[in-house]
Structures are given as C-alpha cells and as structure tokens.
C-alpha cells in the first residue's frame, strides 16, 4: 500500500465514498462508506446536541422492536405523512443502550419536533400530551397533537426528537363568544387584554325581569319586576300589601300607601281657565258628566234661562233652573 500522503486530497466528500476499516476484532480489513459512518454516528447519538435524542424509524417488526428506534405501534409507516401521526412508540434505550426515558418523560406537555436528520424538511411538530410505558417494556407510546408538519416518514431514517422552542409556536387564537348576559359574582370582571366598554347585565338569566331595564342586583329581581313597558287593558285591584308606594282601589277610592298608611288620591278634579278667562277649580263626581265648580257648586252648563243647571250642588228638574233664594233666617 502506498503512503497515504501520495493519494490525491479529496476536498469534495461523497457519502458513497469508501474508507478503510476493520472488523471489531481488528483481524480483517474492511471498507465502510461515509454515509454508513454518518448514520452510525446519528443513531448512536455519539455527536450530541443538547435537548435532542435520535431514533431510527423501524417499520418492520422482524425480531422485535429494537433499541434506538421509533415506530408506529403496529409498525409500518413508511411514507406516512407527519401530519397523520398521533401515536409513536419510542425506545427507552438508544442505539448505544443508554436509557433516555428520563429525558423523554421530561418532554411531556411540551411542544416537540420530530425531524429527519438528513433532510430537515421532513418534520412534524406536536404537542406531547402523554408518554405511557407499554406493558412494562422498554418502550413508551407518545400521544401527539399536530401543530404543523411537512413531508413523510421514511423507513430506517434517523430522526431527531427534541423540544421545539415554545416561542416558535404561537397558540392559534380562538375567538371566544362573549355575550352581554350571564351571571357574575361581582363586578370585578377581568378579561385579559379586553376592555369592556358596555354595560354588563348582571341579572339572573334564568329569571329575567319583565321589561327592557334589568335590575343590576346581582341576583336579579326576577319576573316580579317590570320596567319600561306599556301596560294596557289592565286594572288595579283592591288587594295590596301595606308597603310604601303600593296602590289599590278600595271602596271606589284610589289609594296609595304613603307614610305607613293608606291615603286617598282625589280623582275627578281639574283646575282650568274658563271661557271668560277665570280660573276655576272643578269637580266631576263619579258617574256624572257635568263639571261643578268647587267653590260655588255651580255647573258650567246652563239651562234655558241661562242659570247653571247645577247650583250649590243641587239640581232641579226641568230646563229652567231655579234662581238661588237667599235665606234670611228667622227673626
């Protein structure tokens, strides 16, 4: 064999180039390709990168699952898209028979990346939600939720498995439905980043008030509270609680409860300016049509002789009211 220095210096290494090697005992000369060396280095993790562990994709069961492999639970998987992966089974021992399970377990709840070492464009990024040991074996099933991916798995390729920088994955914004109704326990509503500009209705949704305006009592008043509504074809009854502000009609008298007692509300009275410009305080008794001036007891309506039909609250029959007679008394 010539001196090595007499051979040409190869400055462009190809993976298929061969190097001189020997068997592990050193008794037989062999050759080995650059690719084979690179694959061995990868699969055995000889060249380490912090936070990364390498696994070869085993697609055929053969003599069983091998150390340093990643596989599908039922094997196969060649040309399977990264995007379709939900479970992968990792060997707890790497190709160098070192236990990497503590490291794998530390990745649970993290966002992880599985990528083909010699073709970084084949990768999948997942949320690792669980890592369960499979039946007391040295294999663990990883439960994965896809974040993003590209490409497919290739059998026997070596894949790096590592934490993906969390800042590189921004959670997909999910617009939560925000309504202006609901029940709160207090008014200190904190919604991160959101500014609540409108009124928050705190009424009890299961027992809303009747009407537009809802009471802001946190418990809600319920259906015994009416606001901003027109009441039609309704009436006030004689039954009422003795409470301030209550109203009722009792014995044909409209009453309101003020100052801890029922008080009559006068009806059928008016104050007006008559056709002569005089101001009159008038009363129309219930059931009658004529207004009577309170001070004189006379009606505005006149008889044929132009005297009030009603005089001093008294009425005569006929169309000719009787002139008032002054009583001088008895002497």
């Amino acid at each position: 064999m010539a001196r090595i220095g007499t051979y040409n210096l190869d400055t462009s290494i190809d993976g298929s180039e061969r190097l001189i090697s020997s068997n592990p005992a050193g008794t037989t000369t062999e050759n080995v390709t650059v690719d084979a060396i690179a694959s061995w280095l990868n699969s055995h993790g000889v060249i380490g990168i912090a936070g990364q562990s390498n696994f070869r994709l085993q697609t055929i069961e053969g003599d069983g699952r091998e150390n340093g492999t990643v596989s599908l639970p039922s094997f196969g998987g060649n040309n399977t898209a990264f995007s379709s992966l939900t479970t992968l089974r990792f060997s707890a021992l790497n190709a160098a028979n070192n236990d990497v399970s503590p490291y794998l377990l530390s990745l649970v709840t993290e966002v992880v990346i599985l990528f083909q070492l010699d073709n970084i464009s084949n990768f999948g990024i997942y949320s690792l939600s669980a890592l369960e040991q499979v039946n007391d074996t040295l294999f663990y099933d990883a439960t994965l939720t896809l974040e993003r991916s590209n490409g497919n798995l290739v059998e026997d390729k070596v894949y790096g498995f590592a934490i993906y920088p969390s800042t590189a994955i921004q959670p997909t914004p999910t617009l939560q439905e925000v309504t202006d109704e609901g029940t709160t326990t207090d008014n200190s509503i904190e919604v991160g980043g959101l500014t609540v500009t409108g009124d928050i209705k705190n009424y009890n949704e299961s027992s809303p008030d009747i009407g537009l305006k809802q009471d802001n009592d946190l418990r809600g008043y319920g259906n015994d509270y009416i606001s901003n509504k027109t009441i039609a074809y309704s009436r006030i009854s004689s039954a009422a609680f003795d409470e301030e502000g209550a109203i009722r009609i009792k014995d044909n008298v409209f009453q309101t409860y003020i100052g801890s007692e029922w008080q009559d509300v006068p009806t059928g009275f008016r104050f007006r300016q008559d056709s002569n410009g005089n101001y009159e305080f008038e009363h129309k008794p219930t059931g009658f049509d004529l207004w009577i001036e309170v001070s004189s007891g006379n009606s505005d309506i006149l008889g044929l002789n132009r005297l009030p039909l009603v005089q001093q609250y008294a009425v005569s029959m006929g169309a000719y009211p009787v002139p008032l007679q002054l009583d001088g008394g008895t002497f």
């Binding site: 008889g303 044929l304 002789n305 039909l309 005569s316 029959m317 006929g318 169309a319 000719y320 007679q325």
Partner: protein, 283 residues
C-alpha cells in the same frame, strides 16, 4: 276649526263671506261652506231663519244661536228634514229654536242624524202626520244606531194627526228595526191632550232606548200618554210626570204637577212651591 255666521236680517249668501260682520243668510248655505268641526253661529235676528231641508255629508258641525230666543228656525209649515246619517260625525245644536214645520211621511222626521246633541233648544208647533214620524227619524241601515242627547231642551205644542193612534208619538220615529238611543236630561215636555199624542217615542216596531233624567213631562189633562217605549231599554230617574202613564223603571221619580209658573203661555220656570226644585240629581 273656523267659525261662520248667519243672520236672518242682514245676511246674504251671495255677497256675504260668513264673517260676523258680513254673515250669510241661510243655514243651508253655511253648512255647504263649512268643513268638519267648524262652528256656525246664528246671530240674534228679528226675522226667523228659513228652515228648509238640507244634507250634511262627511263632516261634524256645531250650529249654535247667539243668545236665548235669538235664532228661530221657522219651517213655514212645510215638511223639513236635516239629514246627516253619519255615525262618526256629530252634529251639535245649541241655543236654537225649531218651529212650524212638519214630518209628513210615514217615517219622516225633522232630523235624521246619526249623532245629534241638542243643548238649550226649543221644539214647538211641530206637526206629524203619521205614527212613525217624529222629531228624530231613525237611520236607513238597520246596523246603524242613532244616538241623540237632549240637554235642557223644551218641547211643547207637538201635534200628531196619525190615523194609527197607537203609534202617535212625537220624539222618535223611523222605520222598523232601526235602533235609536235617546237621552233627555233636564228637559221639559209639554203635551196638549188635544194634539193626539199617544206615546213619547212613536214607532213601536223598533228598539227605542230612552233614558230620562231630571226631566219633566206634563200632559194637560188626559192621563193616557205612554212614556216607556214598547221595545228597547228605558229608564227614568229624578224626573216628574203628570198625566202620563207607564213610566220606565227608575228612582226618585215624582208623579205630580210640576207647578210651572204659566205653562199655558209657555213659561216653564218652576214656581217656588214646585216639587221639582232641588229634586234632581247631578248629571
């Protein structure tokens, strides 16, 4: 709402403009010129106003006299009818007198008005020649109810020459099955026994709802004029009747001479001893 004026002495339908200073002559012309809710004032006049037939369509009006006795509408013995059959628009009459006219036909009345209010009006020297005629004639459609209110009105010297004496009324007439509701408050009705009046309402083949309050009915001598209509509802309260029979049920009525001061000469003021004094009720 406009106010127009008529004057039986100085008015002119051609040269007048309906103002107080340049009034029209006739009520007919003023009615034709007036709009809904307008007021027509009949100014005090020495002459009587001509009372002839006319119609009022699609409007309510108030027709009022200027003062007591100042506006007398004289039919000159002819048949007259004011026709406003609307049940929406009211025709109001105040301080007017209607006299010397007739309702000649079988059902004809001097007024055929859906909603009529008479206040301080006088009706006298009126003739009817059929039992179903009367001051108020019912409307044409059986579904249209006529409503009329008389307040402080006077009726006297009303004649009926009907051969059907049982139907000889004076107040409410009209065709079969036409309902009329009449309310009389503080009115005076004076019937002369010689004038062949047998009933207050007249026609017995239709509902005549009659409500009388504070009203005095006086018949000269014969005790046979029926107050209560044969059909319809009726009530009479706080009223006085004398020489009438069959008064409608009611409260505080008096069957007694009202003791007018001089009814023979149309003075219907109450004498100081009248039982009607202070015997009425608020209305």
């Amino acid at each position: 709402m406009a106010t127009y004026y008529i004057n039986a002495d100085t008015g002119n339908d051609t040269t007048g403009d309906g103002s107080a200073s340049s009034p029209w002559l006739t009520l007919n012309y003023a009615v034709s010129e007036a709009s809904n809710n307008d007021i027509i004032v009949a100014q005090d006049s020495t002459n009587s106003y001509a009372f002839t037939s006319f119609s009022i369509t699609g409007k309510g009006l108030t027709i009022q006299g200027e003062s007591e006795g100042g506006a007398v509408f004289d039919g000159n013995g002819a048949q007259v009818q004011i026709d406003s059959r609307s049940t929406v628009f009211a025709i109001n009459f105040l301080d007017l007198e209607f006299t010397n006219c007739s309702g000649y036909g079988q059902y004809d009345g001097i007024f055929r008005i859906g909603i009529a209010n008479f206040t301080r009006c006088k009706f006298y020297n009126l003739n009817f020649q059929h039992g179903r005629a009367g001051i108020m004639q019912a409307l044409a459609d059986t579904s249209d109810e006529q409503t009329v209110v008389f307040l402080s009105c006077l009726f006297y010297n009303l004649n009926n020459t009907s051969s059907s004496s049982n139907e000889a009324g004076f107040l409410l007439g009209g065709n079969n099955d036409r309902t009329t509701t009449a309310t009389l408050n503080n009115c005076v009705i004076h019937i002369y026994s010689s004038n062949n009046i047998r009933n207050v309402t007249g026609d017995n083949n239709a509902d005549k709802n009659l409500y009388l309050t504070n009203t005095i009915l006086l018949n000269d001598s014969v005790n046979d004029i029926i107050i209560e209509p044969t059909r319809g509802e009726s009530a009479m309260n706080y009223s006085c009747y004398y020489n009438f029979v069959d008064p409608p049920a009611g409260l505080n009525n008096i069957n007694s001479d009202p003791l007018f001061i001089d009814p023979a000469n149309n003075n219907y003021n109450l004498s100081p001893t009248s039982p009607c004094i202070d015997a009425g009720t608020l209305i």
